[in-house]
C-alpha cells in the first residue's frame, strides 16, 4: 500500500447523498480477477450513456473539475461490501473522499487501500461545495499527521477523526496482513486456549 501523508489538490464535487457502491461500480463490471482497471468503469451508469458515449452533465465529464479529492453527500459508499468500489476510485486517481458520513464497510475498504475517507460536519461539507462552486480549481490540503482538512482559499480548516492504528498504517504504507502475520503466535495461543476450554 502507498503511503499517505499530506495531499494538496483540487476536488471533484458530487453533491448527491446515499451514493451506494452499485453506483460507484455496477456489479456487471466485477468480473475481473485483479485489482487494476476498475477506474474505467467508475460511476459507469452516471458517466456514460447506454451506447458508451459520455454524459456531458456528469461531473467526471466536465473538464472544469479535476483533482485527487472527491467530495460527496452523506452516507457515501452504502450498500454492497465490494472493495472494487475503493479500487475504482483509487484507480481513477482519487486519493481521498470527503463526506459528512461514510458507510462502515466502505470506510474500512478505503483505508485498506490507501484511499483516505475524511468525515467532516454537514456545515463544513457545505462550505467545501461553496468553495468549489466559486472556483472549480479551488485547492484543499489534507494533513493526515495533524488530522486536518483545510480550504486553502479561506484558510478555514477542520479536524477529522481516524483510528490511531489505521493512521499509523496509512502514514507508513503498511497493511493489516503484515500486522496480523506478525502476531501469529498470539493467534495460535488463542486457538489452543479455546480448544482446552472446550474439552
Amino acid at each position: 500500500m502507498e503511503k499517505f501523508q499530506t495531499l494538496h489538490s483540487s476536488a471533484v464535487p458530487l453533491p448527491i447523498e446515499e451514493v451506494d457502491t452499485d453506483q460507484i461500480i455496477p456489479a456487471r463490471f466485477l468480473k475481473a480477477t485483479t485489482r487494476e482497471g476498475f477506474g474505467d468503469n467508475l460511476f459507469r451508469d452516471w458517466r456514460y450513456q447506454n451506447d458508451d458515449t459520455p454524459k456531458p452533465d456528469f461531473v467526471l465529464n466536465n473538464p472544469a473539475y479535476d483533482g485527487k479529492i472527491l467530495v460527496a453527500g452523506r452516507n457515501f459508499g452504502c450498500g454492497s461490501s465490494r472493495e472494487h468500489a475503493a479500487w475504482a476510485l483509487y484507480d481513477y486517481g482519487f486519493r481521498a473522499v470527503v463526506s459528512s458520513f461514510f458507510a462502515d464497510i466502505f470506510r474500512g475498504n478505503a483505508l485498506n487501500n490507501g484511499l483516505l475517507p475524511v468525515q467532516v460536519s454537514e456545515d463544513f461539507l457545505h462550505d467545501i461545495f461553496s468553495a468549489i462552486e466559486q472556483d472549480p480549481q479551488a485547492t484543499f490540503t489534507i494533513d493526515l499527521e495533524q488530522q486536518q482538512f483545510t480550504i486553502d482559499a479561506t484558510g478555514q480548516s477542520t479536524d477529522f477523526e481516524i483510528d490511531a492504528y489505521k493512521k499509523h498504517c496509512l502514514l507508513n504504507g503498511q497493511d493489516d496482513i503484515d500486522f496480523l502475520l506478525s502476531i501469529k503466535d498470539k493467534i495460535e495461543t488463542y486457538e489452543q486456549q479455546r480448544q482446552a476450554a472446550a474439552v
Partner: protein
C-alpha cells in the same frame, strides 16, 4: 453489569487489542465466492503464504453463475473465467468448494445455515454485505471487503473496531399477510438507510421470537440496508430444532452439549444498549419501496411522500423511478417479478408463493422469475410439488444463484421497467441499467405476478 449477546460472543473471540480502538477478532467460519475472493488468493500467492486454516473456509459459486443450463460450460467468457479461477484457487489452497453441479451449491447465505455450518455463538465473515443473514442463529456475522478476505485466509482473524450496540424490539402480532420481510422493510423505513451505521443490531420482542428461522434470516439479512454492521437474534428452541440433524451440525451427545452451551447465548436483563427502538407488529402493513434505497419504503396503502424542498437526492430518486410525490402505489402496473436472493429464496418463501398461486395463472404481461437459493431448495421444491404449481402458473423456475438481485449474470430487468423483487436492494441499476426495482415480500411478489399490478395482499387473503 450484565452483557449483551453481542458482547458475550465478541469477547469470546478477542485475540488481541491494537491501540485504543482496534481489536483482533478470531473468525470461526469463513465463506467465500467467486467475485470477491480472486484478488485475495492472488495476495496470498504474492506473499507466498498458505491458507492458515483451510478447514474453516467453505466456497461456493453464486454471484456470477447462469441460472439456466448449469450443467453446460458457462457461455459468458469473463464469468466462466472467474468461476474457473475459484475452482483453481480452492484446489491449490485446499478449500472445500461446493461449485456448480454440486448438490450443496447455492447462494452462500442460504447454504451455510442449510448445511448446519452456521451455528450459534460463532463469528462468521464473508466478502458479501449480506453475511449478516447468519446472525439469525445468534452469531456475529458480517460482510468484509477483499483485503479482509485475504486477512482471514492468511490468519483466520480480522482487525475490527468494536461497533456500538443497538436493540430493536418488535412486539405484538402481525396482521395476516404481513411477513418477516415487511417487518424489516418497515424498520428500515423508520430508521433510514443509514440509521444503523456504526452499530450491531440485536432483534428482540415477541414478533421476532414468533418467526421461523427463515423469517429470522430475512430480518438479519437486511441489517446492512440500514447501514448496520450486522444483526443477530438470540438462539432458542426454534434455532436448535432447525439445526438438528443437518449435515455439519453436532450429532448425538455432542448436540446435547452444544445446546447447553448455546442456551447461554442471550442478553442479560441488566445489559444496556447504546441505542434502543421499539415497534408494534400491529402497525406494520405489507411494505413496498418507491425509491432508490431500501430506506424509501411505505405501507401498500400509503402514498409516495412529497419531495422535501431542495432535496435533490430524493427528487432524482423519484425521477429515476418514474413516480410522483403524493401518488398511490396500489394499482401500479408491473412487468417483472423476481422471487429469489439471499433475502427470500428459501423453501419457506417458495411454499408461501406456491400456496398463493396454486391453481392460478400469472397476468399475461408479467415475466416471473423464481430462482431457488440452493440446489437443496430446488430439490425440495420439486419433491413438494411447488415447482409444478409455479410452472403451471407460468412462472420461470430456474437454477440457484444470486441472479437478478444484482444483475451480474444475464438475468436482468430491462431499462425503465418495473420489477417487484423479493431481494434486498432497489439501488439505481441494481437489476440492470435503468431497471426500476420495488422491494417486497414473497407473498406480495406472488400477488403482483397474478394481478399484474401492485395489490394489497391483505384484501385478497380476506376474500378467501
Amino acid at each position: 453489569m450484565g452483557k449483551t449477546l453481542f458482547d458475550k460472543i465478541w469477547d469470546n473471540h478477542l485475540v488481541s487489542q491494537v491501540g485504543e480502538d482496534t481489536q483482533v477478532l478470531y473468525i470461526d467460519r469463513h465463506f467465500i465466492h467467486e467475485v470477491t475472493s480472486p484478488q485475495a488468493f492472488a495476495g496470498l500467492e504474492k506473499r507466498g503464504i498458505p491458507v492458515f486454516r483451510p478447514q474453516q473456509t467453505v466456497a461456493t459459486a453464486d454471484h456470477n453463475v447462469p441460472t439456466k443450463d448449469q450443467h453446460l460450460p458457462i457461455r459468458e467468457e469473463l464469468s466462466r473465467f472467474q468461476v474457473d479461477k475459484l475452482t483453481e484457487n480452492c484446489e491449490k489452497f485446499g478449500v472445500e468448494l461446493y461449485g456448480l453441479g454440486h448438490p450443496y451449491q447455492g447462494i452462500v447465505h442460504v447454504i451455510g445455515p442449510e448445511l448446519g455450518i452456521t451455528q450459534p455463538g460463532m463469528t462468521i465473515v464473508c466478502g458479501d454485505s449480506h453475511t449478516s443473514t447468519h446472525g439469525a442463529f445468534g452469531c456475529i456475522a458480517f460482510g468484509i471487503g477483499t483485503s479482509q478476505v485475504e486477512q482471514t485466509l492468511a490468519t483466520q482473524c480480522v482487525l475490527q473496531r468494536k461497533p456500538k450496540r443497538m436493540r430493536i424490539s418488535v412486539d405484538g402480532e402481525l396482521q395476516p399477510g404481513v411477513t418477516a420481510k415487511d417487518i424489516i422493510l418497515y424498520i428500515i423505513s423508520q430508521l433510514t438507510a443509514s440509521g444503523g451505521t456504526g452499530h450491531f443490531v440485536e432483534y428482540a420482542g415477541s414478533a421476532i421470537r414468533a418467526l421461523s428461522m427463515e423469517g429470522r434470516m430475512t430480518i438479519c439479512n437486511m441489517s446492512i440496508e440500514m447501514g448496520a454492521r450486522g444483526g443477530m437474534i438470540a438462539p432458542d428452541d426454534t434455532t436448535f430444532e432447525y439445526i438438528k440433524g443437518r449435515e455439519f451440525a453436532p450429532k448425538g451427545a455432542d448436540f446435547d452439549t452444544a445446546i447447553e452451551r448455546w442456551s447461554l447465548l442471550y442478553t442479560d436483563e441488566d445489559a444496556t444498549f447504546d441505542q434502543e427502538y421499539h415497534f408494534l407488529a400491529e402497525d406494520i402493513e405489507p411494505m413496498i419501496t418507491y425509491g432508490t434505497n431500501p430506506g424509501m419504503g411505505i405501507g401498500i396503502s400509503q402514498a409516495v411522500p412529497e419531495v422535501p424542498a431542495g432535496n435533490v437526492t430524493f427528487e432524482n430518486s423519484l425521477k429515476y423511478m418514474g413516480l410522483q410525490g403524493g401518488q398511490a402505489m396500489k394499482g401500479q402496473k408491473i412487468n417483472h417479478v423476481f422471487i429469489g436472493s439471499c433475502t427470500n429464496s428459501r423453501i419457506e418463501d417458495l411454499r408461501a408463493v406456491a400456496a398463493f398461486v396454486k391453481g392460478r395463472k400469472k397476468a399475461d404481461h408479467v415475466n416471473v422469475m423464481v430462482v431457488p437459493g440452493s440446489k437443496q431448495v430446488e430439490a425440495q421444491a420439486k419433491a413438494e410439488g411447488l415447482h409444478d404449481i409455479l410452472t403451471a402458473a407460468g412462472f420461470d423456475f430456474r437454477e440457484p444463484g444470486c441472479s437478478a438481485c444484482l444483475g451480474m449474470n444475464e438475468d436482468k430487468v430491462p431499462a425503465g421497467e418495473y420489477c417487484v423483487s423479493t431481494s434486498n436492494r432497489n439501488f439505481e441499476g441494481r437489476q440492470g441499467p435503468g431497471a426500476r426495482t420495488i422491494l417486497a415480500s414473497p407473498l406480495m411478489a406472488a400477488a403482483t405476478a397474478i394481478y399484474g399490478e401492485l395489490v394489497d395482499v391483505r384484501e385478497l387473503l380476506n376474500q378467501n
